[in-house]
Point group: C2
Chain length 386, copies 2
């Protein structure tokens, strides 16, 4: 990538069942935090990109307008970018492009979703429409079912165990318990995870991420402006984006997310590094099996060894590569349009050394990995400390 673009401000609001705040109020909370972090005012921002995943969660046809209205950002540019649960990373891609193309010097990227205004079964059904609207969803498929198939294929092919899946949940809850902005700040035991109720075999309650309200925001700046903010810049070094078939049944493999492999390679190529140089990562653990697949598909460990990788605690701090030490989608929560932006917030704070008890010591290079649907679109972004 020829152009240098930095993140100069980053904040996440409190994730949770936020009956106290509307969709737009959640957005305001995150944006106010990011502006404060950057040491600027909203009037210093040139352009804005909004990530919201689902019209049906916001009861709206143009949720981005609600956001720029409530922030009073008008008349400057804002629109929505969507790639299902990878919307946030797509919005950061567009934010990067806005600056790298010369249209703006300072860009706000906001991700927000309010999911708890509908019931949990309704939310599951709305998200199910992220599958194929003709050949999957109408026949009853929802996301626990998709990822249950991924898990079964992984178990059958590589001998991955239900215990190993549960170990991902235990790790992410362990770190989530240390993140004051996480939805579910509690540790769980392996036994609790394994005994939790079955959602879609082999995935149990604790294998599933949370239905969450939340927002996150980052401020991007051009190389020329990156020194003008309160904190040192964190550079965007690589942006990989890839797609796959709509239907999981059309894929070459069910246990490998090809879009992760392709997007990862593109991001590594941009950054001129390999997976061994990543110090900290946030990956898309919408279900525990998805984190195990991500270890492999991003090259953190060989294909098929993701189960033993978590069993050996290689993704804890002190292991080969700490993953989701913010709690992940599993414990921090998964407000779908906010998730990708929130991942970037965590990596920025890790690279600045601001993460307290869950800080990865000496982290200089970080990666975010964000999946839309069952892998129809994936964004991988690599960040480097100044």
């Amino acid at each position: 990538m020829k152009k240098k673009v930095a993140i100069v401000g980053a904040a996440q609001g409190k994730f949770g069942a936020r009956g106290d705040a509307s969709h737009r109020e959640l957005a305001f909370e995150a944006v106010a935090g990011a502006l404060k972090d950057a040491g600027i005012r909203l009037s210093d921002v040139d352009s804005m990109v909004t990530s919201v995943a689902a019209d049906e969660f916001s009861f709206s046809l143009q949720p981005s307008a609600q956001m720029h209205d409530y922030l009073e950002f008008y008349p400057k540019a804002n629109f929505r970018v969507e790639g299902a649960c990878a919307s946030g990373s797509m919005a950061i891609r567009v934010g990067w492009m806005t600056i790298a193309s010369g249209l703006a010097d300072v860009v706000l990227v906001l991700g927000a979703e309010k999911m708890t205004e509908v019931s949990t079964p309704q939310a599951t059904e709305i998200m199910g429409k992220g599958g194929d609207a003709i050949w999957e969803y109408p026949f009853g498929m929802t996301f626990p079912g998709y990822y249950a198939m991924v898990a079964r294929a992984h178990m059958a092919t590589f001998g991955t165990t239900e215990e190993q899946l549960a170990m991902v949940a235990v790790k992410n809850h362990f770190y989530g318990s240390q993140n004051p902005l996480a939805h579910m700040q509690k540790e769980i035991t392996l036994e609790q995870a394994l005994k939790s109720f079955m959602v879609a075999y082999p995935l149990k309650l604790y294998d599933c991420s949370l239905i969450t309200d939340g927002a996150a925001a980052v401020i991007l700046a051009s190389e020329e402006r990156a020194g003008d903010f309160a904190k040192p810049p964190v550079w965007i070094e690589g942006i990989g984006t890839a797609t796959d078939t709509m239907r999981i049944s059309d894929r070459e493999s069910i246990h490998t997310l090809k879009a992760t492999v392709v997007a990862g390679k593109e991001a590594y190529r941009h950054a001129g590094i390999g997976p061994d140089e990543i110090d900290v990562a946030t990956v898309h653990d919408c279900f525990t099996i998805a984190e195990i697949c991500a270890y492999e598909d991003l090259g953190f460990c060989p294909k098929g060894e993701g189960g033993s990788f978590i069993e050996d605690r290689q993704t804890y701090i002190g292991g080969k590569i700490p993953v989701n030490v913010d709690g992940g989608l599993k414990s921090k929560g998964h407000p779908i349009g906010a998730t990708g932006v929130s991942m970037a917030v965590e990596i920025v704070k890790q690279l600045r050394g601001e993460c307290g008890t869950r800080q990865v010591p000496g982290a200089e290079v970080g990666l975010t990995h964000n999946v839309g649907g069952s892998g129809q679109v994936v964004g991988v972004t690599i960040y480097r400390k100044d």
Copy 2:
């Protein structure tokens, strides 16, 4: 704008009530046309951007994935860009940025919407959610009501008449009757328009655009590659994007779309020209009053004189500036996510001289104007012949 980006392929499918084609099949039709127009294959395209406005029309949470799946575009990048009825222009903006930022050399921008799978009242209600989800839509506001208020304010302030509104419809049906891809290829008389049934005073049936199925696609290319295609490039010279408040009641003025004024000025500044240098324009005539406001807010005539501007036939071919000679949203149709892309297709074909009986003679510079909602987001784009 420092970077030069061209449109090198453009096509629109047949607009109408397309019971013969699914959402994804409409998209395929447009993309196949654009590729043929450019003289390339889909494998020559590096990256893709999809404009779909409403989840509820596609019964889907990630409509863009349906598109790249059906086209077999994976594993290359694709995601969705949305700005209500201005989604298509926002997608072209993102396509432009993809090239200008150096991420790709050849980009496909697709816009598609299938609106007739729900009833007309349901479609009106879905679109109504493009207003404010808390303070407008729940109280019964839908778009004919918003634009009726704009019309009443315009009539009260400037003396604009119902006849002048109807003249916009007569013009657009006149040109739409000559466009084989238009939804409604029939001429109407002033009397027919004035006697059509009242939708929201003073807007009658023929003051309202159509609920349409359709798709359009353009191929963008970098300056380095722009000469490699079947036809001469049409250059994107200016891109203006602006926003306004969510609620029409919060605006400085009801009869002026401030976002049009701001986006227009930005586009003119980029292109280094003024409104007098535009040879042909497509403007967002979702209702006849919207076209009259656009004449004024884009500087084609002074504020308040839009009514007499159409009465004097200044926006017919041979007048000061021909507008919507493809039939406009009014007669060509308004498949909301496709509309902005379809406007670009028309301008490209006008600048190439391919428009037959409705060709604007000698057109060298064209403009598209695309409004989201009641003016919450507007995109203005200026194009120039090679």
